[in-house]
């Protein structure tokens, strides 16, 4: 099938994306080192007054029910835990990336953020069940970033999505990823990968983004991380935290069993634990947003 959209136009959009905040670049570099510590994350936040204020606001939100307010950054970060702090840094320093409505996917404002956050908590829970060593510490961040391609792709995709949904419903295209590729010559995973390269993300995150729907095809050294992102993505969709008209429209790659000890019971535990953490994060971060308004 002849692509309806020029991939050159999509690549031109990626090339014009603004440079990411130094905070994000530093955070991702820190997270991709083997032996980073919480202090390394504290150091990123403490030199940015606005970010420090936000972290303190979130820590003091009613969700956490603290009797005495937290006034120091170290305490706030150790109290919130690194995942929420990483979420604040990425959400706060990436402009509209996670929050803009995804018209092409029928996804409302914050749909991508909610999906990615649930996927991130799920990916990090999946990582606990790893059979072999891998960059498990990156699983949360890989989950959080896996779908960034939808941000760039959505306005292009909007023009052809009715045709795509028709093909999927009548069975002439096997799944959503195939529809994206057939109609545009690219898919959101590939576009996300090119965005990650544009922004010079660490290599494991680039690969996890590229292969989050096809983890078995990832280079061997990045395969486990790609599977963690893949499974986190699946969990988010199962929990109803999808990005819109593509919810549950991608096949599961059951090659995960080589990397993770996953049973129906442990999967239920993952969904439960991810939902608890997700709710807490969404509530505390939205309090922070309301305070800002």
């Amino acid at each position: 099938m002849e692509p309806r959209i020029s991939s050159d136009d999509i690549r031109e959009t990626i090339a014009k994306l603004p440079i990411l905040s130094p905070n994000v670049s530093r955070l991702l570099q820190v997270l991709s080192t083997d032996d980073y510590e919480l202090d390394d994350v504290v150091n990123i936040v403490k030199y940015d007054a606005a970010l420090t204020a936000k972290v303190l606001k979130v820590a003091n939100s009613p969700v956490f029910g603290l009797v005495n307010p937290v006034t120091t950054l170290d305490r706030a970060i150790s109290y919130l835990g690194k995942w929420i702090v990483i979420s604040i840094i990425l959400s706060d320093n990436t402009g509209e990336l996670f929050h803009k409505p995804l018209e092409g996917y029928d996804g409302g404002q914050n749909a991508l953020w909610r999906h990615d956050l649930f996927a991130a908590f799920s990916s990090s829970e999946v990582a606990r069940l790893a059979k072999h060593d891998f960059e498990a510490e990156l699983a949360f961040t890989a989950g959080l970033l896996h779908d960034i391609g939808k941000f760039v792709f959505s306005p292009f995709w909007e023009k052809v999505v009715p045709e795509a949904l028709g093909h999927i419903e009548e069975g002439s295209m096997a799944d959503y990823l195939e529809a994206e590729r057939s109609l545009t010559g690219m898919d959101h995973a590939q576009i996300g990968y090119e965005m990650a390269r544009h922004w010079d993300f660490p290599e494991p995150l680039q690969q996890a983004i590229l292969y989050h729907h096809t983890p078995q095809q990832a280079p061997e050294e990045f395969r486990a991380l790609a599977f963690a992102a893949h499974l986190g993505d699946m969990c988010a969709m199962m929990a109803g935290c999808d990005t819109g008209n593509d919810g549950m429209q991608y096949p599961l790659d059951d090659g995960y069993s080589e990397f993770f000890d996953l049973t129906s019971e442990s999967l239920a535990q993952i969904l439960l634990e991810a939902e608890i953490q997700f709710k807490k994060a969404i509530s505390s971060l939205s309090v922070e947003e309301e305070v800002d308004k």
């Binding site: 996917y105 996804g107 949904l165 109803g240 599961l252 059951d254 969904l271």
Partner: protein, 162 residues
């Protein structure tokens, strides 16, 4: 109007004219709706997992999360609003329980949720008169107090009645 919007693990019922009970994006979760056409009482629970044995603390904190606790609690809520304890005359429907496109059964939590909900309903002497379950798409469900009608919608698939 005072609509009730349920999140994951919530349950609720209403007899307020003109209102509805609604839940968004079920995924593999299951919504059980109960409706008394004589009293115009409408209730719903948004169940996420089959069995509270998985995590007793979560069951205590949010019983509607699990089929074994949530469905009886919804029924109690219907009784509190005047429905017969025998469950007679209640119109029960099941929605959701979707699955990702998987070749193995591990990820088929949607199917396990549907089976668990049915088992609990049978224990209460009830069964669904209609269901829209399974497949691989998420559902948003609304139950209307005045009519007992159930509307299902999904991004990209439009809206339909059950």
């Amino acid at each position: 109007m005072s609509n009730i919007v349920l999140g994951i693990g919530d349950y609720g019922a209403s007899d307020r004219p003109g209102s509805m009970v609604k839940t968004y994006a079920l995924g593999s979760c299951v919504a059980v709706t109960m409706y008394d056409p004589n009293l115009h009482v409408a209730g719903m629970v948004h169940v996420a997992l089959p069995d509270s044995k998985l995590n007793r603390a979560k069951g205590a904190e949010c019983p509607g999360y699990f089929a074994d606790l949530g469905v009886p609690l919804l029924f109690e809520e219907m009784v509190r609003l005047g429905c017969q304890r025998q469950g007679r005359g209640l119109v029960v429907k099941l929605l959701g329980g979707a699955s990702v496109m998987a070749g193995n059964d591990t990820f088929n939590i949607g199917k396990r949720n549907v089976l668990a909900v049915k088992k609990v309903l049978w224990g209460l002497g009830m069964g669904p008169v209609a269901e829209d379950v399974g497949a691989n798409y998420s559902r948003t469900v609304s139950l209307y107090v005045d009519s007992g009608g159930v509307t299902v919608s999904c991004p990209g698939r439009g809206q339909w009645q059950i």
